[in-house]
């Protein structure tokens, strides 16, 4: 065995011939891939950009003090309304509505997770 034998051994490996159905099998998979409609991805980048611009605009239009004050008074009003509502029936109806919306959101989320959807 001469010094080039290592090269010879590795360069002259067995040649495998593709099976007769190889091309057909590949094309079947490629066709399946081509016809599979991928879900339209949520435009996260655009969403983030809009949120950013919106936040900057909101901060410019509504100064922080007034927003905080409005928030505080709104939260206080809601809390007072929940504790001592002027109309108990209306409060219960609204709470039921909120609960059903939250339940629907959770069910949709769970369905997406179970079906393997990433977004």
């Amino acid at each position: 065995m001469n010094p080039d034998d290592f090269d010879r051994i590795l360069i002259s490996d067995r040649q495998i011939e593709p099976s007769s159905s190889f091309t057909r099998d590949v094309m079947l998979r490629v066709e399946a891939e081509a016809t599979y409609r991928r879900p339209i991805p949520f435009p996260w980048l655009r969403f983030a950009a809009i949120m950013l611009v919106g936040s900057v605009l909101a901060a410019w239009l509504f100064p922080a003090d007034s927003v905080l004050q409005a928030g505080r008074s709104m939260m206080g009003a809601i809390a007072r309304w929940i504790v001592a509502p002027p109309d108990v029936a209306l409060r219960n109806a609204l709470l039921s509505l909120l609960a059903s919306v939250a339940g629907t959101v959770m069910l949709v989320w769970l369905s997406l997770r179970l079906t393997g959807a990433t977004r």
């Binding site: 590795l10 490996d13 040649q15 593709p18 081509a34």
Partner: protein
């Protein structure tokens, strides 16, 4: 030292030359030297597939099925698994065809995509690559007087390559698969030619040492038995 173990050691010394061969002109096989016509056909088919003509992909599959299966075979040493790996590679190529910009030859891009897939396939499936020690042990009973058939002996070395650490294994496999074309090996692996040379040297050195050590161990066991 017995005559048998001496022969065995000489065998390993002969087949494992530590020097790295230079870039040799390629001359044979369908795997190399794709002529300009073939490159043009590849470009035309890629364009047609991207324009929505799916059947053009079949031409690409027909042209490249043999090289991709053979490259996969060098990793897994199993024909059926090699076909599975090559099928996955073609699907991956189809999915990523729009990313081929034509900076490099289509063949280089195609092999690079396939190689990435084969690497992760080897990691994921943890294929049973036999260690060099095991191989030498298996061969120990057959080697002593170099009566083993040349084909079996060669196959033993090839299987040992598949057991090298991944970067050395990739360098050795691609380098010889592309018939010792150093520049293309570097392009496929996405590293410099110097890095490929270093990996080849290290890979072969590692192989040589391990085989020599395993051979010596096997020889001493035989001496005790005698």
């Amino acid at each position: 030292m017995t005559h048998q173990s001496d022969c065995r050691l000489r065998f390993f010394e002969q087949i494992l030359q530590p020097d790295i061969p230079g870039c040799r002109p390629t001359s044979q096989g369908e795997l190399v030297d794709r002529d300009q016509d073939s490159a043009n056909q590849d470009s035309a088919d890629v364009r047609r597939v991207l324009e929505g003509e799916l059947q053009a992909f079949e031409n690409i599959v027909r042209r490249w099925q043999s090289p991709l299966i053979n490259l996969a075979f060098r990793y897994c040493r199993d024909r059926q698994r090699a076909e599975e790996m090559a099928q996955d590679a073609f699907l991956q190529i189809y999915r990523n065809l729009h990313k081929f910009r034509g900076d490099a030859a289509f063949s280089t891009w195609l092999f690079a995509v396939s190689l990435n897939l084969y690497r992760s396939f080897m990691r994921r499936k943890s294929l049973p690559v036999e260690s060099i020690d095991t191989l030498t042990e298996i061969a120990g009973g057959q080697f002593p007087q170099l009566q083993i058939e040349q084909e079996e002996r060669d196959d033993l070395v090839r299987r040992a390559v598949a057991g090298l650490p991944s970067q050395y294994r990739d360098a050795v496999i691609v380098f010889y698969f592309r018939e010792m074309d150093l520049a293309e090996t570097a392009a496929i692996l996405g590293v410099s030619e110097g890095t490929v040379k270093a990996w080849l040297h290290r890979g072969r050195e590692l192989l040589r040492k391990k085989l020599a050590r395993a051979s010596a161990a096997s020889a001493s066991v035989k001496e005790v038995r005698i």
